[in-house]
């Protein structure tokens, strides 16, 4: 291939020179070039090496369908592999290299695979599963362990950076009346028509300039056209690819904001993921020219005819001097004349017997030779095209009749409308025998296909279909009532002739169908012989149309060969379903700004800053950041939480418990409502009293536990567990909206309204007394266990205080409006310090509650009944409540159910872990007889303890040694089963 840049051709700015690096060598191109155009102009033929056989590959197209020129852009953490050189805009300082080659693309040791190709035919990978014959034939795959390493190393094309992605990405939303995808002749016409009808229009183009196929016309001015469109009020989005269509006219788009700069500019992200919602979508996505399968059709210097036209008229690059064009359709003639006029020697071989005389005359007038009944047989050359063998059909085979010296072979095997996006909507295309392509079927959604995407080939008809699409959108949206007419499909003077493959006379040929995956026509035949005849099986067995190609280049050829083998029509064979994305998109763009620290929304309590300032180590519980422990003097967790729990038992501790769910329940029927929701009685709860409650699900299993405080006759304040706060809120809403619509109750989440601190320990009342305006309010008489009061702290902060204990100690929970939390904690901590108190975190909180046998999310895991957790006595048998019927069903009343117990190690110096299975001595198997759910070191008892469930419960297993089996950690330990109330079983400490 001997390409050259022509001064008077193209739309690139030849006054603006850009330098770039290819394979570590500096080259120059022009502003407006694609990387492929610059490489072509610099006469670089070999751009990459093929997937399996490491064959040299050059530029085969001028757009997103490119299968040969896949390159790696950037270096180090900015490495971006498998970029199509045809779509990559050139910029100053661009660094690019070939891929899948060692040491380089011009001389690649991997080329040896080309000679071993019989071992790498379709499905070879799957056959390696079967073992190495004859040694492992039918026995399995010991040697697979070796194969796997080799195959994994060899697989893939470019290598991604292993460093973190340094780029920023973001999401964005946009709305419009009409979304037009593709800015070719039909897209532009549709946009103008829709805008003229006062519709809000977005026109999306994946290229950096608008025009689509118009860019291959010498007289098309994309800047002038864009200005005109924008003036008409149309939002034009270039460098934006519609990668998927979804329900209700929602389209997913990727905008390459900064991929045409060395580094992002103006703090903008590298790419932006748009979700665009419209009332009507017009798909003017164009069509792709097909290759023809014949021997060595992948040698650098073979490309589609229309690509050569684009390189000439858009980039000013004449891709060859001696050009052979092989075709089966009319679309090549204009291009052949253009190439001839630009100075190339052009000869056309047309498989058809004849075409109209006018075209022949026109070709001859422009020095273009044409011969009929002839097809390409074989390319001669290794790293570049040197000549082509031309054949004529004799019977079922082709016979070589001459060899033409050339440096560029252009192929046109027909055109395939880009129907990928419509396929995402589940619409199956239909095969059109006349135009030899799949055409879009009618959509029941407001989606219209226009232009060559609808199988309309000539420019004027494409524009007419665009206008009709714009009118159709206006009609369907309801702002216009007028007739519109779509032109007929097709439009060539002479009918296309079905030519998909020139079958070689050789026993094995390199006749490629899918260039990206090295799938040959022989591979299709092999798949057929081995029974993989359905298109979906064919795809997976041969990799035809997989990965970023998505069938753009080779699908139709593969299907035609399979149809021929099955002696069926292509329409009977069908086509695969195309899935998003249409072209590859960065995972980073899908994540947007939701990465690293912001991968999930971070939820903090109003005391978060206070906790950090006071040395808290934090832990994630759900989305919440909660204090885990407060180390002193470089303490580790194990020491810190034991110290903290011990302090609570001895003096006083403060713990941020804001993450508890909080729900306001208001209305005259609040009491009735709570009485129906909770399993225990709430009908007679006095004002200024709180009660612990357990709510069940409909199926009788425990949903959540918490307390509810009666603030007034008609108002309650409910707390839930941290984990189930949202679930309980939704549940209460659902009950009120669907089952008990007659109840006058409003529920509102006030989880964010109130900050909460637990003050626990023998000195808790003393601590609190120093903080409240009237200490008398919290005396034992005025505030007994489960009593509550609403008062003020001595700096005027309003608060609610309840005497509630999760630790088994004398304890209070104090709630203030969140914006006062910081100041509340300052007061409390100053007071607690006077009593040698401590701050304690989640770990100590857990230790204290396990000692007392109090259950939490680890135990209330959605599988237990109220009886299982030894709280059955709380459940009322005098009322009906949610779950009351279903909890009585046999399986839940079984006496052999696993029941809550406390667990000690027999040898008190030993430890054990949550998740351990409890088994009978000498019967360590299966699920055992129980499980351990929570463990801790008990400061109160001086050894390791746990909570768990065992069949039959404490009474069944007391005084019996069981085994804690932990097969994951390969551990076994003798255990004693004890009452879950392991510390202060009589609850004396609760009263101070």
């Amino acid at each position: 291939m001997t390409a050259k840049r022509l001064k008077d051709y193209g739309k690139v700015n030849q006054d603006k020179i850009l330098s770039f690096t290819w394979e570590n060598k500096k080259y120059f191109g022009y502003k407006g070039d694609s990387l492929a155009a610059s490489l072509l102009a610099n006469n670089i033929n070999i751009i990459g090496r093929s997937f399996k056989y490491h064959r040299p590959r050059g530029i085969m197209s001028a757009g997103v369908e490119e299968s040969g020129a896949l390159v790696t852009i950037g270096k180090n953490e900015y490495t971006d592999p498998n970029v199509r050189a045809t779509s990559q805009e050139l910029y100053e300082g661009l660094i690019a290299s070939g891929q899948n080659a060692f040491p380089n693309v011009n001389f690649d040791l991997g080329y040896i695979n080309n000679y071993l190709s019989r071992f790498f035919a379709a499905g070879f990978y799957y056959k390696t599963f079967m073992g190495l014959p004859p040694f492992e034939w039918g026995k399995g795959t010991k040697i697979w362990m070796i194969y796997e390493k080799l195959i994994r190393k060899a697989a893939g094309m470019g290598k991604a950076s292993k460093m973190p992605d340094p780029d920023k990405y973001e999401h964005a939303n946009e709305f419009c009346d009409v979304l037009i995808i593709g800015s070719g002749p039909s897209g532009i016409a549709a946009a103008v028509e829709a805008a003229n009808n006062n519709l809000d229009v977005i026109l999306v183009e994946q290229d950096h300039v608008i025009g689509g196929n118009l860019l291959s016309n010498s007289n098309f001015d994309f800047e002038e056209k864009k200005y005109f469109l924008q003036k008409a009020g149309i939002k034009v989005m270039t460098r934006t690819t519609a990668f998927g269509l979804y329900d209700n006219c929602v389209a997913g788009m990727i905008e390459r904001v900064n991929d045409h700069f060395f580094l992002p500019k103006n703090n903008t992200p590298r790419q932006r993921f748009w979700t665009i919602r419209s009332k009507h979508i017009i798909l003017s996505t164009g069509s792709l020219e097909r290759h023809i399968a014949f021997n060595n059709n992948d040698i650098p210097g073979v490309m589609t005819v229309n690509a050569a036209r684009h390189y000439l008229n858009r980039y000013g690059v004449l891709a060859g001097e001696k050009i052979i064009i092989c075709t089966n359709n009319d679309s090549v003639f204009e291009t052949s004349i253009l190439l001839s006029k630009a100075g190339a020697k052009v000869k056309v071989f047309d498989i058809r017997e004849k075409i109209d005389e006018n075209t022949i005359k026109k070709l001859n007038t422009n020095n273009v030779e044409i011969e009929f009944n002839k097809a390409p047989l074989n390319i001669q050359g290794n790293k570049k095209v040197e000549s082509i063998d031309i054949g004529i059909k004799v019977g079922n085979k082709y016979k070589k009749v001459n060899e033409e010296e050339c440096d560029l072979v252009l192929i046109s095997g027909g055109w395939s409308p880009v129907i990928h996006l419509l396929s995402h909507r589940g619409i199956k295309p239909k095969w059109d025998k006349e135009n030899l392509c799949f055409l879009p079927s009618q959509s029941s959604e407001p989606i219209t296909v226009a232009g060559s995407a609808a199988g309309i080939w000539n420019n004027d008809d494409c524009e007419a279909s665009g206008i009709a699409s714009g009118l159709k959108a206006a009609n369907e949206i309801g702002i216009k009532t007028s007739d519109y007419f779509f032109p007929k499909q097709g439009g060539w003077k002479n009918p296309i002739f079905p030519l998909f493959e020139i079958k070689s006379n050789r026993s094995r040929s390199k006749s490629f169908i899918d260039f990206q995956h090295d799938v040959t026509s022989d591979d299709i035949r092999l798949a057929h012989r081995e029974g993989f005849v359905s298109v979906e099986h064919l795809k997976r067995y041969t990799t035809l149309g997989m990965a970023n190609d998505q069938g753009k280049m080779g699908n139709i050829i593969g299907l035609s060969i399979m149809a021929d083998l099955l002696q069926k029509e292509i329409s009977e064979v069908g086509t695969t379903v195309f899935r998003p994305p249409y072209t590859p998109i960065s995972i980073g763009a899908l994540a947007g700004r939701n990465v690293n620290k912001h991968f999930r929304p971070l939820r903090v309590t109003p005391l978060h800053d206070w906790n950090l300032e006071n040395g808290a180590k934090m832990i994630e519980t759900g989305l919440y950041q909660r204090p885990w422990y407060y180390p002193k003097n470089n303490e580790k967790l194990a020491d810190a939480y034991i110290r903290e729990a011990s302090s609570v038992r001895k003096t006083v501790g403060l713990c941020d418990v804001t993450s508890l769910g909080k729900i306001s329940i208001q209305g005259p029927d609040s009491t009735i409502f709570l009485n129906k929701v909770y399993s225990n009685a709430f009908a007679k709860l006095p004002i200024n009293k709180a009660r612990y409650g357990i709510m069940l699900r409909d199926d009788g299993l425990v949903m959540d536990d918490g307390t509810s405080w009666r603030l007034s006759e008609n108002e309650y304040f409910m707390t839930t567990s941290t984990a189930h706060a949202a679930k309980v809120m939704l549940w209460l809403e659902e009950l009120l909206q669907t089952r008990w619509q007659n109840l006058k109750v409003h529920v509102t989440s006030v989880s964010e309204e109130w900050a909460a601190v637990s003050i626990a320990g023998p000195k808790s009342r003393d601590t609190l007394s120093l903080c409240v305006e009237d200490p008398n309010l919290i005396s034992n008489d005025n505030l007994p266990f489960m009593g509550l009061t609403q008062t003020k702290l001595n700096n005027g902060i309003p608060c609610r205080i309840a005497r509630i204990s999760f630790s088994g100690e004398l304890a209070f929970e104090i709630y203030t409006p969140s914006d006062f939390a910081y100041n509340m904690m300052n007061i409390l901590w100053e007071s607690a310090k006077k009593f040698d108190g401590c701050l304690y975190g989640l770990e100590a909180l857990g230790a204290l509650r396990i000692e007392k046998g109090h259950v939490t999310g680890a135990e209330l895991d959605g599988r237990v009944t109220i009886e299982d957790v030894e709280l059955g006595k709380m459940a009322s048998d005098k009322k009906s409540y949610i779950g009351s019927a279903m909890q009585k069903r046999g399986v839940l009343a079984d006496k052999d159910r696993e029941t809550l117990v406390g667990i000690f190690p027999r040898n008190k110096s030993q430890t054990f872990d949550a998740g351990t299975i409890i088994c009978k001595k000498n019967e360590i198997k299966g699920y055992g007889i129980g499980r351990i759910t929570s463990v801790t070191y008990s400061p109160g008892l001086g050894h390791w303890i746990g909570l768990g469930f065992i069949k039959g419960g404490y009474t069944e297993w007391k005084n019996t040694i069981v085994v804690g089996a932990d097969p994951v950690r390969n551990k076994e330990i003798d255990l004693e089963i004890v009452s879950p109330h392991m510390f202060d079983p009589k609850g004396e400490r609760l009263h101070g």
Partner: protein, 186 residues
Amino acid sequence: MVDRTSALDKNYEIVKKINDEKVNLIFNRNINLQITQVAAWPDTVSKVELIISKYLKILSLPRSNFAEDNDSFAIMRVEPLKWWILGSDIPLLSTEEGTTLDLSHSFTNIQISGPSAKLFLNRFLPLDLRDNSFPINKVASSAIHHVSVKLWLSRNGFQLFIPRGYAMSLWEIFQESATQFGYEIK
């Protein structure tokens, strides 16, 4: 009584960050947010509307997902049976009429204005903010990164209400995104 602390205190700095010589976004937080939720029963909606309109001295209450405001207060209908009253005390209702609830500390209120406010908000919110679809005093509930938020277009700009616990997390992302527009924090 002590001052309130905002969820953004740790990371709220009055600053102007110009991009391309422009400031296209202005952030302004409301540190003394006062929200009272008023809820009626299905059979008392008209009665409660009357009580509120009399108290606030306005002719009628806004319809669903709209607000009314003047210099001292705003009222928005956030659910079919619920209104939020901002910046004003409200009359106590009898239990038979409805309920009231203070939510002043539940949300962090950030005002977002400037020429790029819509563009910026659409980086996060899947709401149609075009003039015809989102006029002055329109209110909508939506989500940012799965966090439920409320948006009201007041005469002074968009008012975003974020649950307090998530406010800092979203604020950090806002600042990161805002650099491309050029922004000022007031």
